[in-house]
Symmetry: C2
Subunit: 211 residues, 2 copies
Amino acid sequence: MDKKGILVVVSGFSGAGKGTIMKQLLEEYPDRYALSISATTRKPRPGENHGREYFFVSKAEFEEMIVREALIEYAQYVGNYYGTPREYVCQQLEKGKDVILEIEIQGALKVKEKYPDTLLLFISPPGAGELKNRLVNRGTESKAVIESRLNRAWQEAQGVENYDYFVINDDLEECVQEVHSIIQNEHARVARNHAVIENIRAELKDFAKGD
Amino acid sequence: MDKKGILVVVSGFSGAGKGTIMKQLLEEYPDRYALSISATTRKPRPGENHGREYFFVSKAEFEEMIVREALIEYAQYVGNYYGTPREYVCQQLEKGKDVILEIEIQGALKVKEKYPDTLLLFISPPGAGELKNRLVNRGTESKAVIESRLNRAWQEAQGVENYDYFVINDDLEECVQEVHSIIQNEHARVARNHAVIENIRAELKDFAKGD
């Protein structure tokens, strides 16, 4: 079986419970996964730590990272930069860890373009009604905000066809296990095992000759 | 999640333990899987039953099945016909069962051509040495037969690139669970969930309009 780590992008509708699933996955399998930490130029919020939630950098630093291609992907959002530093991701993959990027659809497609063997997972609640209920039940958002979130979710759903798996989060623990087994099974993909197959083939050829 | 059954082809080197894995899988999950039964013109061996190991038919009957396209694939081997009757497979898929065909590489590729969403699994022992040992340890085969088997395995290994997964049978029970989870995860493939995704998208659009 392929021992190199797999780059995994996890996206999903806001309100799909993606963050909770990732947290749980990393708690249950700390040796298998590494979560990529984004760099951003936005200011830290209370309780956020440099190197935990984000790498907080200046605009000049971020633009310097762009220039020396130190980012796998980046985007601007509400006047701030967000991006995925390449170095940490590559280190963890080399160690054999599956590295999870929790990013949005546009970023995901950029990553897939650069690294075609990236595994793309999309997390969804069981239905749109469920998504609406979760947003309403938070009780913190106005009707206009909820509608704009749902509109955004609808736009996000445009790119889902480019993903590999559409995982429904009905029960948290079941969903965590499903995500885990999808990623682990990916190691058994023929496309990731050419070297292993080539070895067996060469050995068989020798044995068949009567060695 | 996609509720229709998936057509699964399982192939593997002879001596890889494929038959045992399938038997175990069907015993553990009788409600999820159906094993396709081949039709053949060869004579039943002692202990074999019509409709259990094979459907035993005459050459005329088999050729009539070919003419009316009642077979998904068929081949001739040592003067006998072997083929996969379509009707049973389709019935079981409609019922939502994942249908397993245990056939060889040539047949597998014919099935994939006709039904492109077929999932192809290849079962292998951990290495060619292991395969040789298993054949030698059976103690029933001469050196010449073993070499011809290994040669055949080497030839089979030529088509493995067309498969989706390369599953290593190191520990029987682990391998059964891996095969099970690969097949079950396949139901979450985006390509098998277009209708589900389309529904959520349509609902989101309505909600975002404030319905």
